[in-house]
């Protein structure tokens, strides 16, 4: 799976998956580190069930990969298609955000 033709494939994967990809963008992490990092950067406390569901989905889509277990923990790493998909999604969010700010300005609100 890739972000061919600039298609935003992350639009339907849910917020948790996007946050995980953002967290993995600067290096591999295991589950506990992901939860802590996401809490710090987004103020969102992911439940462990949500975390593993999202990790499984992202791995199935080929956007992340599991590295060999370190003790009992599996670190995860973002793949090249995952990084491309994240870039497309963040660009899309930026466009929507800019449009929203512009309209708020035009509306005088």
């Amino acid at each position: 799976m890739s972000s061919r033709d600039g298609q935003d494939i992350l639009r339907r994967v849910g917020e948790a998956s996007v946050l995980i990809l953002i967290s993995l963008a600067d290096g591999s992490k295991h589950g506990y580190a992901l939860i802590q990092d996401i809490k710090e950067i987004a103020g969102v406390e992911l439940g462990p069930g949500t975390l593993y569901g999202a990790l499984d989905r992202l791995e199935r889509l080929g956007l992340i990969e599991s590295l060999p277990a370190d003790d009992r923990r599996h670190p995860y790493r973002i793949t090249a298609p995952g990084a491309a998909a994240l870039r497309v999604h963040l660009d899309s969010l930026e466009r929507v955000s800019a449009a929203g700010r512009l309209r708020l300005r035009l509306g005088g609100i």
């Binding site: 295991h30 589950g31 506990y32 939860i35 439940g47 462990p48 069930g49 949500t50 975390l51 593993y52 569901g53 499984d56 277990a69 009992r72 923990r73 599996h74």
Partner: protein
């Protein structure tokens, strides 16, 4: 309280437990150590387990379809059962008013202050006789 988490983890499919089970238990222990309530972690894992069972995997499309079919059949069966059990009672409560006239069914017949149709189960009305079921 950690027992709750262990029970929740046992709700996952075997393939999931094989893959993530040890790590998930360790993660739960770390989160509990940080002050997260065990029941909250258990709930999260329970919801995750439900999703894991319902998420179709390649080669398991038939299973997912079978689960959907089973849910549909159960829903239809329960609805049909409810309709079937209500029909005789409705017939019972309709018939006496035609046979004996509306006078026997006016409010105040039977025990004062108690509606017989409400105070007794419908199945009982059907067996007890039609003339008493107003």
């Amino acid at each position: 309280m950690a027992g709750l988490v262990a029970i929740a983890l046992r709700c996952y499919p075997a393939r999931w437990r094989h893959r993530h089970g040890d790590e998930a238990a360790e993660l739960a222990a770390l989160l509990i150590g940080d002050g997260t309530p065990a029941w909250s972690i258990a709930c999260s894992y329970l919801a995750g387990a439900a999703r894991a069972w319902l998420t179709p995997r390649s080669g398991r499309r038939f299973s997912a379809a079978a689960v959907a079919l089973a849910i549909t059949v159960c829903s239809v069966s329960v609805s049909a059962g409810l309709v079937a059990s209500a029909a005789p009672a409705r017939a019972a409560s309709d018939r006496p008013s035609q046979a004996h006239g509306p006078a026997r069914c006016r409010p105040g017949d039977g025990t004062p202050g108690v509606s017989p149709a409400i105070g007794r189960p419908r199945a009982f009305l059907w067996e007890a006789g039609h003339d008493r079921s107003c």
